[in-house]
Every structure is written in structure tokens, then in C-alpha cells.
Amino acid sequence: MADKIATREAYGKALAEFGAEYDNLVVLDADLAAATKTGVFKKAFPDRFFDCGIAENNMIGVAVGLSLTGKIPFASSFAMFAAGRSFEQVRNSVGYPRCNVKIGATHAGITVGEDGATHQCCEDIALMRTIPGMVVINPADATEARLAVKAAIDYNGPVYLRFGRMAVPVINGEDYKFELGRGVKLADGDDVAIIATGIEVEQALLARELLKNEGISASVVNIHTIKPLDSDLIVAEAAKCGAIVTCEEHTVIGGLGAAVCECLSEKRPTPVLRVGVNDTFGRSGPAKELVSYFGLDAASIAEKAKAAIALK
């Protein structure tokens, strides 16, 4: 595996890269450019970068105005503020008129680390998924983050992009193809399907190895686009394996796990166990330690996988 890189880093670089190609790409931030990495774009295209100050709700509205006049705005802040504080602005000003606004939310989930619960947003996927027409993407690595930015630019409509603070391995190779709304099967298996998103894709792959040592065959699917959900792939995995484990760095309420349960309960009822933040707030600590603390690590996934198989 290549060096570790945070998806927020890839986001900032991608904005600068595609900013050269798209004259109408503009970037907004709310006094967090150094952290969200939109500062990389700011350095490359200072005339198309607008700091909105610590005023996220106004930033979302400004992005809407820019989108209605031919620009492709990326509005960035931490997930807590972009999706949390500004939920209603995103719902009414972006979602309802279906504006071509891209929300680049970084520092999602508990791997924010030491800053703790007030800044660890584990509810953003749930919030954004309820808005009609909103596309929700949670990239697993730097490769996917870059391609997700490109896909968001090429898609005409609102997109929520979720990035992380913690450096993570690059899983996908240079030939990786990203398709909006299409999941990616990373490994085949028969006994249980592990369906993961974001940084949990890496843990899912590690869990597969742990299970393999115990003679259990697990498939691993990366669902980078949580909405629209690739229900065909999920139903196919359910049909083949008969047991599912979902993994996300997000509350188990309303996120990927919920989306998979909603899909399968209607199309192919199958036992599903969810790995995620269990209806609790985050806490301070080194990001990597928190992954284990909240039961999001490979060992926890492997245990859940065995429990899911027992439900068959």
C-alpha cells in the first residue's frame, strides 16, 4: 500500500487540479481553509476563492447565488457545520430548488480525534440523505476522493461530499474507475458480505483477512455513494451470501447501515448487522485509538460478521 493520505488532502488538491480545467469552479470556505484543504485551491486561484468567515449559513446561500449564475461552487466547512448547523439552508436553499451546489464537508466522524464530540459529526449522512435529490458521497481513499470531486463537477445538481481528517491508506489503484451511484466489489466471498463506506473500507478489507484465517469467506463491497444507493449490487450480495455486515464511521441510525436495511427489507430480506457509532457522541482521543474504542476496527467487524452468519 502507498503512503497514507487523508481524503481532505485529496479534496483540496483535486479542487486545484480541476480548477485549472473549469473556469467556473469557485470555492467558498468558512474560516477553515487550512483544515479543509481548500487553501490549496486558494493558493492556485485566489480570485475564485471566497472566505465567508465563520458564517456557514450565509456561505451556503452565497453558494446558491453563485450556482444560479453559472458557477460551480464548492462550499466547505467541517461536516458538523456544513451538514449540521446549515441543514435547513441546505434543505431549503440548495435542495428544494435543486441548485448545482457542491458541499465539501471535511472532518467527518470520530477520526477528528482529540477535538472531541462537538466537532465529531456522526449524523451528516443521515441528515443529507433525507433531502430529496441530494447525492451523498463518502470516499474511501485519496484516489476515490479525487474522482468523486470530478464526478460532482460533472453532475448537475446538489452533491454532499464527505471527507476525513485522518490519513488513510490508498486502496484504489491508478486505473480505478469511479461511477456515481455504483458500488465497487473489492473482494469476493460466499459466507458474509461486508458493505463499507469511507475509511471503514480499509477496516473491512482487514476484517476479511481475519475471517479468512478462521475459514470464513467474506466479500467486501465499497459503497462510496450512499445516495443514490446501488441497490442492485447490495441485493446481489445478499442473495449470494445470505448475511450482511455494514460498516461506517457514522451513527448506525440513518446512515449506510440504515440505507442497506431499507433496501433489503423491501427487496430481499436478509440478516444485517451494523457496525457504526452506536447512538452515542464521540470523545477526545487519538483518531486511531477511537476507531477501536467505538468498535469500528477490523476485529469488531469480524466479530459482527460471525454473528451475522449465525443469524442465517
Binding site: 475564485r48 471566497f50 449559513n57 452565497v62 447565488g65 453563485l66
Partner: protein
């Protein structure tokens, strides 16, 4: 303004008011008070001030208007109808399930509506984005937003006010419909946003006073805004809530209520539709 033009504008504004009452009466709900208070303002904007063309509602270089106080959709729809964007008879479908005329403006389905609005405080931010975009492109068009006086109690309004001044959006003009009443009562009692002059001035805005029901005053105000090249402008438009309908004037009960059949007839008489 010459007498002939003044007479024409007054007649258009009268028809805008008739349309407001028709819409709200047909729907048995809606917001007549704040719609009537901006009827003259909307008339001035659409028939004197703004560079817009109803035959090409999405023309790229057009001036744009965001009705940030979106609950006054009857006023906007009626002005759009007088201007020729939508048929006047459609006003009677307002708020009906099968109608495109939603309770609050929906830009996706109503020609001439530049932004969906209704959640207070949000439209003004959108107007900032539009104005910034025009500046970026070196366009000469102007962006307008109408906000309620009660709406200025929303914190987002002041986030947007800070933004507009910071980026020198001189192509942006807000109009505060200062009728002094909000749902729970007089704004001075509910949550007093006064004084506007000092607040907006200290936020870096060009502040202009106007009489919302005097076209000469509006003309002077918009001229003053157009001649300010280094700051955004805000017109504090002193208005009468319910203006033009005797029993609705300065009565907060008509913020969001529809007249009954008897009241409708009185309103039509007040507006010169009946002998």
C-alpha cells in the same frame, strides 16, 4: 416623475393589489398584509427599475430579484402577472394542489421567480452570491432582495450584510419592508431590530430612506443606490402593512389571514373594483 407615468404606475399597483386579494381570497389562506405593503415597491421594481423581459425570463444579463420574505408570494405573483410572466387568471389557483403557484415562491415552476424562498434570512445570502457572481464576470446587472423588517431578526441577515460589505457588492440593493408589524405584534415589542440606519451603516452599507407608497420617493431611493459604487445599498422602505385595503391597514391580524366573502367585497371596493 411626470404625472402621466405616475398615474400609470398607480394603476398597475392597484391591479397588483387586486391580484393579491384575489389570490388570497381564492386560496382561503396566504399573507395579504406584507404583500400589500410591497405592492408599490414591486410595481416600481418591475415597471421602472429592473432590466427584465417577461418573454425571456432567464435572460443571462437580466437584473434579478430575490423575495427573501417569501411569504409575500401573492405580491410577487401579482406583479409577475401584471408584467406578463404569468396569466392574471392563474392567481386564483394560488396554493391549490394542482397549481404551480406555491404558498412560497418556487423558482422551478414559476417564470420570473429568480429564487425559491420562504425560510427567512436565506434569500438575502443568495442575493449576495448572485451579486458576487456578476462582479466576477464584470457584468453590469443589478441584484435586488426584499426582506421583511421582522426578517432582520434572523442572524443570517447580518452574516449576509457583513459578507456584502466585505466584498464591496455595490451592485446589490436590499429593500427592507419596514411596516413595523410581525406575526406576534409590533416588531418594536417582539424583538426590536431598530435602529436600521445605525446598524446597516456600521455594517458598511449605504443606507437610504424611502416612503414605500410614494413612487417619487422610490425613484430617488433607487437612483441613490445605483449611484453608490463602493458599497451595497439598503433602502429602508417605510410602509403600511395591508396598504390599500381599509380594514387590513396597520392590523397585524392580516399578516396571514384571508378575507371572507363580505370582507372580499369591501376590499374590492377599497381597491376601486366596485362602485
Amino acid at each position: 416623475m411626470d404625472t402621466k407615468r405616475l398615474g400609470e404606475l398607480k394603476e398597475i399597483a392597484r391591479k397588483v393589489r387586486v391580484g393579491i386579494i384575489d389570490a388570497v381570497y381564492s386560496a382561503s389562506s396566504g399573507h395579504p398584509g406584507g404583500s400589500l405593503s410591497i405592492a408599490d415597491l414591486l410595481t416600481y421594481l418591475y415597471f421602472e427599475e429592473m432590466n427584465v423581459d417577461p418573454s425571456d425570463p432567464k435572460a443571462e444579463g437580466r437584473d434579478r430579484l430575490v423575495l427573501s420574505k417569501g411569504h409575500c408570494a401573492p405580491g410577487l405573483y401579482s406583479a409577475l402577472a401584471q408584467k406578463g410572466y404569468i396569466p392574471v387568471e392563474d392567481l386564483k389557483t394560488f396554493r391549490k394542489t394542482s397549481s404551480y403557484l406555491q404558498g412560497h415562491p418556487d423558482m422551478k415552476h414559476t417564470p420570473g421567480v429568480d429564487m425559491s424562498s420562504g425560510s427567512l434570512g436565506q434569500g438575502v445570502s443568495v442575493s449576495c452570491g448572485m451579486a458576487l457572481s456578476s462582479k466576477l464576470d464584470g457584468k453590469n446587472n443589478r441584484i435586488y432582495a426584499i426582506l421583511g423588517d421582522g426578517e432582520t431578526e434572523e442572524g443570517q441577515v447580518w452574516e449576509a450584510a457583513m459578507f456584502a460589505a466585505h466584498y464591496g457588492l455595490s451592485n446589490l440593493c436590499w429593500i427592507v419592508d419596514f411596516n413595523g408589524l410581525q406575526i406576534d405584534g409590533p416588531i418594536a415589542e417582539v424583538m426590536n431590530p431598530a435602529p436600521y440606519e445605525g446598524k446597516f451603516s456600521s455594517f458598511g452599507w449605504n443606507v437610504i430612506d424611502a416612503d414605500a407608497h410614494d413612487f417619487d420617493s422610490l425613484e430617488a431611493a433607487f437612483k441613490s443606490a445605483r449611484e453608490c459604487f463602493d458599497r451595497p445599498s439598503v433602502i429602508i422602505s417605510r410602509s403600511v402593512k395591508g396598504k390599500g385595503v381599509s380594514f387590513m391597514e396597520n392590523n397585524v391580524a392580516w399578516h396571514g389571514a384571508a378575507p371572507n366573502a363580505e370582507q372580499y367585497e369591501i376590499a374590492m371596493k377599497d381597491l376601486g373594483e366596485r362602485a
